[in-house]
């Protein structure tokens, strides 16, 4: 990765943190920085302002959730970070370089709304897909497949085809695939949106343990308030038309979380603030 000059962090907490760190010659370099980022889609019905003036910073090891109603641009923002959409104005850097360069350097793993596994490949071959594209050796592929399938509790299903597994298992396989080449950054776009609540709780728990164990940086798009609060260290509440940031909430629960914490006062306070943010951001709609 090239050396970079970071423009100053934009929100207050990280800005001061950065200054403190500089004194210790230990600069916390954000993984993702956006400055006044906007994206307008040109459609037949005229322009649609998907994103407007987005300023965010994501620091290493953070778990950042993007939450908001449909059409608030949270998925679009994630896609811009992944270089799957191009912003119309503003700047964005991932690992200190452009999203395009970051993508080509395989800086992130992306988990989609659906598992998007290839039906002609077995589970292990699906996990091997990114490794094949990167041209890893056979031995290393084997080792990583085994390690990552174990991480998502899918050991023993290597030779199964995706359509032989349940939706939850498929989504876990797709997470193993995103982790296979060991990216420091994980981008997840409503990965559990299509699953029922019991499976979702279970996978949330597993994801939290995984994040805690691997200390990766995660950007997570969701509709669900409990999911966002349960998983995140920082919750970004977005509002629609044009998609912009309404509130940024720090969630100071311990990194390793248990389902019981959902009843704690701190959890409920954060959830309440998120809910109020969502309601206020949406109010002019009515």
């Amino acid at each position: 990765m090239t050396d970079t000059n970071m423009t100053g962090a934009t929100d207050n907490t990280t800005a001061s943190a950065g200054r403190d760190a500089q004194d210790h010659a230990d600069i916390v370099q954000p993984v993702i920085t956006t400055k006044d980022l906007s994206l307008t889609f040109q459609t037949n019905d005229g322009p649609v302002h998907a994103l407007s003036g987005i300023d965010i910073d994501v620091n290493p090891g953070e778990f950042v959730s993007l939450i908001g109603p449909s059409g608030c641009g949270k998925t679009t923002l994630l896609r811009v970070i992944a270089d799957l959409e191009q912003p119309t104005s503003g700047s964005i850097e991932v690992n200190g370089v452009s999203p395009d360069a970051a993508r080509k350097a395989r800086a992130y793993g992306y988990v989609f709304q659906a598992a998007a596994l290839y039906p002609w490949r077995t589970i292990e071959k699906n996990v091997a897909l990114p490794l094949e594209i990167m041209g890893l050796s056979h031995a290393e592929k084997k080792e990583r497949i085994a390690r990552n399938l174990e991480l998502v509790n899918l050991t023993g299903f290597e030779r199964k085809y995706p359509w032989q597994l349940s939706g939850g298992m498929q989504q876990r396989a797709s997470i193993a695939r995103a982790l296979a080449f060991d990216p420091a950054l994980l981008l997840m776009d409503e990965p559990f949106g299509a699953l029922d609540e019991i499976v979702r709780d279970h996978l949330n728990d597993q994801l939290n343990k995984l994040w805690h164990k691997t200390s990766k940086t995660v950007v997570f798009v969701t509709h669900s308030i409990p999911e966002a609060v349960y998983l995140s260290t920082k919750i970004i509440v977005m509002s629609p038309r044009p998609g912009k940031i309404y509130d940024v909430i720090d969630c100071k629960l311990p990194r390793e979380r248990t389902l019981e914490m959902r009843e704690s006062k701190e959890f409920l306070d954060v959830a309440l603030r998120v809910r109020e943010g969502l309601r206020a951001g949406h109010s002019y709609d009515e």
Partner: protein
């Protein structure tokens, strides 16, 4: 309940019908030259036995229509042995079959129906036996098509020029295997297979090329459309002028016929990978070739196999018809057009049989490969 399963219900209805049909042979003469009383004459002992057996079986089955395996087998043996007897009796009596004959034939056919019905409704423990039964059922079905054909043509005395009985076609087939083999080699092994490989191969290659070069995509499709609309009747003589009388000109016709279905299907197939799947490849920073080989080609396989299946029949039609327009004195199309002129209709039918056999085996092979390669597709995995 009586109608515990529709199959059993069908058998229940079929058995009295078979009995009724057999009874007509008592009322109507079996052959026109005889009176109905003659069924009781000693020359008709076999027919009398058949009649009595049908009656006995019908009564037995009626009593216990669920039938044991042995009883079912007896129905099958009776149906097919009986019809064999009927065909044997036709010898020297062409065109003389009368009401009683048709009654007995229908009785045998209904019993065969009962037999197949029972076979199909039975669950066999042994997997291999079940597999065998799954083959036997369509074979019996096909055999009865031939049996009815044989009885109709010989019993009604249909002129051979219009429709020869299958037995005569069979005799002609086995008498002229060397000619048939030479024709098969010329038409199928050369014109069809080589033309098919070249047509499908080039259609595929051009589709890949057009995928990379956008202007080809826009320019080629309309032109390909025109080419595919060319009537082979018009193109074949020109191909003969270009590539000579031998199989090369026929292969060229096959190439023209098979190119376009392959091109269109491959192009459609290459476009059918989902947005998410493509995005995934992009997030890996995959090259265009990697995306092509690891995502878009596998996704296009069902379409490509569709084209291969369509083309397997098109190629055979193209090669045979193209031989009508100039050919050396060998080839399936050549043989059909000349033998029809010499009123050797049984030879024409023998060639048709070869073409049908080769065509369906070819198709079956492609369908088998499709199953192997696209086992994952919802239409195959079921």
């Amino acid at each position: 309940m009586i109608l515990s399963s529709p199959l059993v219900g069908a058998s229940r209805l079929l058995i009295p019908l078979a009995l009724l049909a057999a009874l007509t042979s008592l009322v109507f003469p079996v052959f026109q030259t005889e009176t109905n009383i003659q069924i009781l004459v000693w020359t008709h002992v076999p027919l009398l036995t058949l009649f009595l057996l049908i009656v006995a079986t019908a009564i037995l089955q009626w009593q216990n229509y669920r039938g044991s395996a042995g009883a079912d087998l007896m129905v099958g043996v009776l149906a097919h042995g009986g019809v064999g007897l009927l065909i044997w009796m036709l010898d020297g009596r062409a065109g003389e079959a009368s009401g009683g004959f048709w009654g007995l034939l229908i009785a045998c056919w209904l019993l065969a129906w009962v037999f197949v019905d029972r076979l199909a409704s039975r669950d066999f423990e042994n997997h291999n036996v079940q597999k065998l039964i799954n083959i036997v059922i369509p074979v019996i079905f096909g055999a009865w098509l031939l049996i009815v054909w044989e009885c109709m043509t010989r019993g009604l005395g249909v002129p051979r020029i219009l429709l020869p009985p299958p037995s005569e076609i069979g005799v002609r087939f086995s008498d002229s295997t060397s000619i048939l083999w030479a024709d098969f080699k010329q038409t199928f092994l050369h014109a069809v297979l080589i033309g098919y490989a070249m047509g499908c191969g080039s259609g595929f290659a051009v589709a890949i090329l057009a995928d990379r070069v956008p202007f080809l995509r826009r320019g080629l499709l309309p032109i390909g459309n025109v080419v595919s609309a060319l009537p082979i009747i018009g193109v074949a003589p020109i191909m003969v002028m270009w590539f000579g009388f031998d199989w090369h000109s026929k292969a060229a016709v096959v190439v023209i016929m098979t190119f376009f279905p392959m091109l269109v299907n491959t192009m459609t197939g290459l476009d059918c990978a989902g947005r998410m799947q493509r995005d995934l490849m992009q997030t890996y920073g995959a090259s265009r070739w990697q995306t092509l080989f690891k995502l878009r080609l596998p996704e296009a396989l069902p379409f490509i196999f569709n084209a291969l299946k369509i083309n397997s029949t098109l190629a055979l039609i193209g090669a045979i018809v193209a031989e009508f327009f100039g050919t050396p004195t060998v080839g399936m199309g050549f043989r059909i057009s000349t033998e029809v002129g010499r009123l050797n209709v049984d030879m024409v039918w023998a060639e048709i049989a070869v073409a049908a056999l080769a065509g369906s085996l070819f198709y079956a092979l492609v369908a088998f490969l499709e199953k192997v390669f696209t086992f994952w597709h919802p239409s195959i995995r079921g």
